[in-house]
Amino acid sequence: MNHVDIKKELIKMLGPDKVLTDELDLMYYSYDSSFLTKLQPVTPNAVVLPTSTAEVQAVVRLAYEHGINIIPRGAGTGETGGCVATEGGIVIDLSRWREIVEIDVNNMQVVVRPGVIHADLNDELAKFNLFFPPDPGSSKMCTVGGMVANNASGLRAVKYWTTEPYVLGLEVVTPTGEVIITGGQQARCIKNVSGLNLTKLMVGSEGVLGIVTQIRLRCFPRPKARGIAMAVFDHLDDAPATVLEVYQAGVLPSGIEILDGSAIKAVNDFKPQINLPDAEAILLFEVDGNPPGVEYEGQIIKEVAGRRARQVEWSTDKQRMAELWEGRSITAAAAARVRPDGSRIFAGEDISVPISKVAEVLRAIRALGDKYGIKVVNYGHIGDGNVHCAPVINPEDPHEVELVQKLVDEIHLLAIEMNGSTTGEHGVGAARRGYAVLEHGSAVEYMKKVKNAFDPKGIMNPGKLF
């Protein structure tokens, strides 16, 4: 079958509304949010928009039969090129498939299709006083399927961890076109150690092992109260030290965020009315739970942080919490506007390092920025050592692009050297696959063997992970 016949067959199977074959329409699927695809967009050969397992299965079978690459895609908000057909093929856009199949209140779980938007899911769960805790910054636009594929997390990973522990079971269309259920065919239980844990294998596999078509998630009771503490530090090292001291005091906040001097300056330049204190670092602690517990833990944070911080403020007032949190919530936007003739880029943006080394890493990144003459705004989830750095360049200046690529490479190598990882929550995709051997050594060969067992023809999202 040639390309024309494949496209005709896809239309025959799914109908014309669910298949894109016009070259112009396909171009729009040449990117995600990565700097990589901004520099090198790659247009797929076709895009399909299925809304049933049978449709996904039909497409995969066709692709398997003819050895065509298939690339699953959610909302395309990823930062690694993971959902782009870097080696050609059919993109399977699942973002239209937004069905919440069942909210099983009695068993504290929910079953969804992959295109459901994270924030929409939590809006629905809120009606039952439930929530799905992982909290990515892209909550309002990312899909749950994408979260599963990348094992996404976010601001509240300190207490609630990542997507993976919440995934109880999956329906997966394998690269050979079969449909399997992981986590137990009929299971509705929460604890389950029966069999090899294929669910855990699939979560975070970035679409190289199969296409997730249904997700069964564990839900938690929705916390009734929240409080925010802001601590201001004159010395960068005091920030991670305080984080550890808060843990040692027996408090596990839901989130702990850091803005370093570069981020504080960016926020104040962008919105002077926020007027963050001039400092080397600001920490924001979020505590959630029942009201007395939240107040109790807030007071402990206030006391512990006060030993090193220049000032600490604790609040449970909604208005004040919003004001305290505003600096963090606009950091990404502020970074984007730090240079009128530039843009922040998503590259080297997600390293993860031991908490004890965060200050050292932030200083090293600052030095690397100076070395290459590039502004870098640093912020992130210090509670788990996940640092988001935002290099700001003119992406249309080839010289700056060349420099920033060197900078990003050094940031990734720095993370590995510091006993960390090149990515804490955004994934590897095409952008970071070059570091696989350095990070995992001979284990990469076993990753390839696992992939080969699922995907003998190597058609599932090739060119990603390793």
């Binding site: 112009l24 729009y28 699927y29 995600d32 949010s33 909302a75 990404a332 936007a333 984007a336 843009s343």
Partner: protein, 429 residues
């Protein structure tokens, strides 16, 4: 000016990191669900055009033309990109390279001549009153209209027989002491489709101590032209209108149409007039332009001390060009609250687009109706009997929505309710 040299194209394209926040904000994307309808997709395609990676073809215009210019994405973009300006700039470029006689006639000629528009709309109204529109529907004549026009024609269910300008004087004195001299920017939608708003605006302004001037020869604000790739015509109209108001010594230039006031903001005028020597004049002009509800609340601080015993349950729809383009949400609501007898009930997602957007409901009828149906469902859920909004284009669309959903609500501009209270109080004195 060369498309590539336009400031938004030159300065903003690179800023898009394609984070995708705009996908879930865009009313069109939410209906269509393909990336070519996403705002970041539009930014991407403008970049492809600029870089010569795609040819400036009508097909590219079709993709960019899916945007209804509601500015929701621009108002919420973390990188501060004016997506609608990029889109408008690209449409202008594409229109230049792909001339279309129909568009040239409509936007380059007809829609620049108020007298011709007046006569044509008078004729259309007459035909409607003679039952010709219904007759055409009944005998199936409308079915031969191209594309969705056979359905879209239903939106214009009632064309008033006389435009506002046919009945309103060029000058209306203030009642009592004169507080302000006000120029009334009477937009096309209000003039031809909702003349009762214009009458109410003049009445209310006059009653609250304003002299009201309607300049002779006032032309369209240019928004339909910007949206349809006729930026050059919009530029001519803008310069014409600025000159016209420069001759009037007025304190404020007031408009009751959210789209007009959005088009006449300094930011938008800077976009329209880039490369011309009119930037300073435009800034001085824009500084005097104000939405009617903002003027009534923030400047006049009106207090309505009459009562009629009438009661209305009102819900308010935020027009995109007030909420997204100008951030105006409080004053229209405050005005409604100050009208005796009004109980204001908030609808869910009041700021979501109604899908009207001027000519969009005709050019993209199906998507427009899908967006409208969601809006009507939210509005009707309030149990209100009046649906208020500050844009004649929204009013036309929402009226159609009421008919589509069999919801017997009255769709009005708040100033019409206010004027009604004033008038009824007068007759009961």
């Amino acid at each position: 000016m060369d498309f590539r040299e336009l400031p938004p194209v030159k300065e903003q394209l690179m800023k898009c990191v394609r984070c995708g926040k705009c996908r879930e904000l865009c009313p069109v994307f939410k209906e269509i669900g393909v990336e070519s309808a996403a705002p970041r997709g539009h930014v991407f395609m403008v970049q492809m055009l600029r870089d010569g990676k795609v040819e400036p073809t009508p097909e590219v215009y079709d993709r960019l033309g899916q945007c209804l210019m509601c500015e929701t994405c621009s108002a919420n973009c973390p990188s501060g990109i004016d997506v609608h300006e990029l889109n408008a700039a690209a449409r202008a470029y594409l229109s230049q390279t792909n001339p279309n006689w129909g568009k040239d006639l409509l936007f380059g000629n007809f829609w620049t001549k108020p007298d011709l528009m007046k006569q044509s709309i008078k004729l259309a109204s007459l035909a409607q009153r003679l039952g010709l529109q219904k007759l055409a529907r009944n005998i199936g004549l409308t079915r031969i209209l191209p594309g969705d026009l056979k359905d879209a024609e239903k939106i214009l269910d009632h064309i008033p027989p006389r435009s506002a300008r046919s009945t309103l004087p060029a000058f209306t004195p203030a009642q009592g002491d004169t507080r302000y001299r006000v120029g009334y920017f009477l937009g096309c939608g209000t003039d031809f489709l909702s003349p009762e708003i214009a009458q109410a605006t003049v009445n209310v302004l006059s009653r609250n101590g304003c002299e009201v001037y309607i300049p002779e020869g006032l032309k369209c604000c240019g928004l339909p032209h910007i949206a349809n790739g006729k930026l050059d015509v919009a530029r001519q109209l803008t310069i014409h209108n600025i000159n016209l108001f420069q001759k009037l010594n007025v304190d404020y230039i007031i408009t009751d149409c959210g789209s007009c006031s959005a088009t006449l903001t300094e930011k938008n005028l800077r976009f329209v007039l880039q490369g011309t020597p009119y930037q300073e004049d435009a800034a001085a002009f824009a500084a005097r332009v104000m939405d009617l509800t903002v003027f009534l609340i923030d400047v006049l601080d009106i207090r309505v001390d009459v009562h009629t015993g009438q009661k209305w349950k009102v819900t308010y729809h935020d027009p995109c060009h007030l909420v997204n383009a100008q951030g105006i949400t409080a004053q229209p609501r405050e005005l409604l609250r100050r009208i005796p007898g009004v109980e204001l009930i908030e609808m869910p997602n009041a700021a979501s687009c109604c899908g009207g957007s001027g000519t969009y409901s005709v050019t993209h009828h199906q998507v427009s109706m899908q967006i409208l149906d969601k809006k009507m469902s939210n509005a009707a859920s309030t149990g209100a009997d009046v649906l208020a909004t500050c844009c004649p284009s929204c009013i036309m669309q929402l009226n159609h929505g009421c008919r589509r959903s069999n919801w017997n609500a009255e769709v009005v501009h708040p100033v019409v309710l206010l004027d009604r209270v004033y008038q009824e109080a007068l007759t009961t004195v």
